[in-house]
């Protein structure tokens, strides 16, 4: 584990490069690390956020209220407390089913993904639904969940040219990752479908539908069902 300050605004704890992301091993270790950090930092003034990347956890702090050396010492204690545990504990996240309309106008890249993967579009849709995915991190836009667990056969690269606008709810594939665009934004992932479910709503008590560690499955629905459930929050 490597610890370094990000400028003078945050402390980053990074796993070694050889810890695999795709298998969920990094995620398991980071979830445990984040829990240990939250324990060590309980009651400490000036802690703003403890966030996650694919291979790292960041502690954002107001260093007027907490000394950098103090934060560093607490972070080291959190890391040591993990080593003393027999095995990383996999925390059971929430389980969420997302309805998806695959292909057509909602999934303009389905055929290209199928071609690149050497499969039929029906196989792509079936395999994508068979996957059991975990939220590794949230970023890019509020509520955008980066999901791991994509079946190997579906791992195709990003589009050569990103789109200037990807619609909200679009379900995409990029290498080992799949995910849902939480807002209409520019984006380069291969879009195979769209969910009517709102991934983020600032006016909800819990604005983001998903959190790191949650388990997600996709389920094909018809366009009628899509429209009936548009804007739902499952």
């Amino acid at each position: 584990m490597r610890l370094e300050f990000m400028g003078d605004q945050a402390l980053l704890l990074r796993l070694p490069e050889n810890v695999p992301i795709e298998t969920g091993e990094a995620l398991d270790r980071l979830l445990s690390l984040r829990a240990a950090l939250l324990r060590e930092l309980e009651g400490v003034d000036g802690i703003e956020d403890v966030t996650m990347g694919y291979r790292s956890v960041a502690v954002y702090a107001r260093f007027e209220d907490v000394a950098p050396e103090d934060l560093l010492a607490r972070a080291r204690r959190a890391v040591r407390s993990l080593r003393s545990l027999a095995a990383p504990r996999t925390s059971a996240g929430a389980r969420v089913h997302l309805p998806v309309v695959y292909g057509g106008d909602f999934g303009p890249d389905l055929d290209e993904v199928a071609e690149r993967a050497g499969l039929s579009p029906q196989d792509v849709v079936r395999l994508h639904q068979e996957g059991v995915y975990r939220v590794a991190m949230i970023g890019f836009s509020p509520g955008f969940a980066y999901l791991i667990g994509l079946p190997e056969a579906l791992r195709v690269p990003r589009r050569a040219t990103p789109r200037s606008r990807v619609e909200r709810g679009s379900v995409g594939i990029a290498g080992f990752q799949t995910g849902v665009y939480s807002f209409a934004t520019p984006g380069g992932w291969q879009i195979i479908g769209r969910t009517p479910v709102a991934l983020f709503d600032a006016n909800r008590a819990s604005p983001s539908l998903l959190s790191p560690g949650d388990v997600v499955r996709f389920e094909a629905v018809t366009e009628e069902e899509y429209h009936a459930r548009f804007g739902a929050y499952t």
């Binding site: 300050f5 400028g7 996650m52 694919y54 509020p142 509520g143 600032a202």
Partner: protein, 345 residues
């Protein structure tokens, strides 16, 4: 979309937008507790100017203000108002008369305030006693229009505020029949706005050692120019491209001030409204003592970078913070005296 204003609340007056300016939004101190879910920090890009403008009208430092950019708005005030403008040096007018900035300003009902083209710096902050009214979303009134929170002001928009004193306090100098200004001016922040080449102090970025020695040197030796595509998320630079590393980075957290270098070799300096994570290698990080300077870079501005150690960055952060506290206490005290018994909190 949350309401911009509650104009029907009893006792409230309205400010009406006659012309919106280049890019005008409500901003406060932002949302520092929602990064895990991908919500940007946001808030006023010049945090010190936000605090100073609020202090000049007797507000808490983090009340919601209007952040104006390059060319400011033209606003009509329904009722008297206690206001102040800090940050960039705008050519300000009230009812067509030139108005000094950096002072407590009393406006009478019906006054028209206009912030024309900026003369120095890029972003200005218009505070009003009691703060502009808007529904908080995730504990902040900062607009984040990209994600459906708040909006960019448009003509005919109205924002509610609590009316100010019915007459100018004693000692205020009249500007027009409906405006008067306090006899003192604060301008300390203007010294921070450099005219020719803005020097930004940075520490090593998380992927600095992914870059070749040549690219690292070139980053510090070159003078960079701010590209027009810059916004509240990031300042895009142009110049001779750097050799960018070919390695792929798994997305990881970033901070405002992170200097990302995408494949095209042209650095992007992230601003306070940046996304919470990024997948481009980061060559450097602007120290927090220099973050407010980013607010005043405009397309065409020139930028250079100098390196400091992390220890020095933390020391400078402490010095910056202590000086800001002392200065803001002085501003608050002067403002309290100027407004007299009407001095707010």
């Amino acid at each position: 979309m949350p309401a911009l204003a509650r104009t029907h609340e009893p006792g409230m007056a309205r400010v009406r937008v006659l012309a919106p300016g280049l890019f005008t939004t409500l901003q406060d101190a932002g949302r520092p507790h929602h990064r895990l879910l991908g919500v940007p920090l946001g808030g006023a890009l010049d945090a010190l100017a936000l605090c100073a403008a609020n202090r000049l009208v007797g507000n808490p430092e983090d009340s919601a203000v209007l952040e104006v950019t390059g060319v400011g708005p033209k606003l009509w005030f329904e009722a008297p108002a206690a206001v102040a403008i800090c940050g960039a040096d705008f050519a300000a007018y009230v009812d067509g008369e030139p108005l000094p900035i950096g002072r407590p300003i009393w406006l009478g009902g019906g006054a028209v305030l206009e912030l024309q083209k900026v003369k120095r710096g890029f972003r200005g902050y218009l505070a009003i006693r009691g703060g502009f009214r808007a529904e908080p979303v995730l504990d902040s009134r900062s607009a984040l229009p990209r994600y459906g929170i708040g909006k960019r002001l448009a003509a005919e928009d109205e924002i509610a505020y609590l009316p100010g004193p019915t007459a100018p306090p004693a000692g205020f100098r009249p500007i027009s029949a409906r405006a008067a200004v306090a006899p003192f001016q604060i301008g300390g922040w203007l010294d921070q706005i450099e005219d020719e080449i803005v020097v930004l102090r940075v520490v090593r970025g998380e992927q600095a050692d992914w870059f070749g020695e040549g690219a690292r040197q070139a980053f510090f030796e070159r003078t960079w120019q701010v590209a027009p595509q810059s916004d509240r998320m990031g300042v895009r630079l142009r110049g001779e491209p750097l050799a960018a590393p070919a390695r792929q980075l798994a997305s990881e957290p970033v901070v405002p001030g992170s200097v990302q270098v995408p494949q095209d070799g042209l650095p992007i300096v992230l601003m306070r409204e940046c996304q919470t994570t990024g997948g481009y290698p980061k060559l450097a990080t602007v120290i927090s003592a220099d973050l407010d300077k980013l607010a005043h870079l405009r397309p065409g501005s020139f930028v250079r970078f100098v390196e400091v150690s992390v220890e020095e960055a933390f020391r400078l952060r402490g010095v910056h913070h202590r000086l800001a506290r002392v200065w803001l206490r002085w501003v608050a005290e002067r403002a309290r005296q100027a407004w007299g018994s009407e001095g707010g909190d």
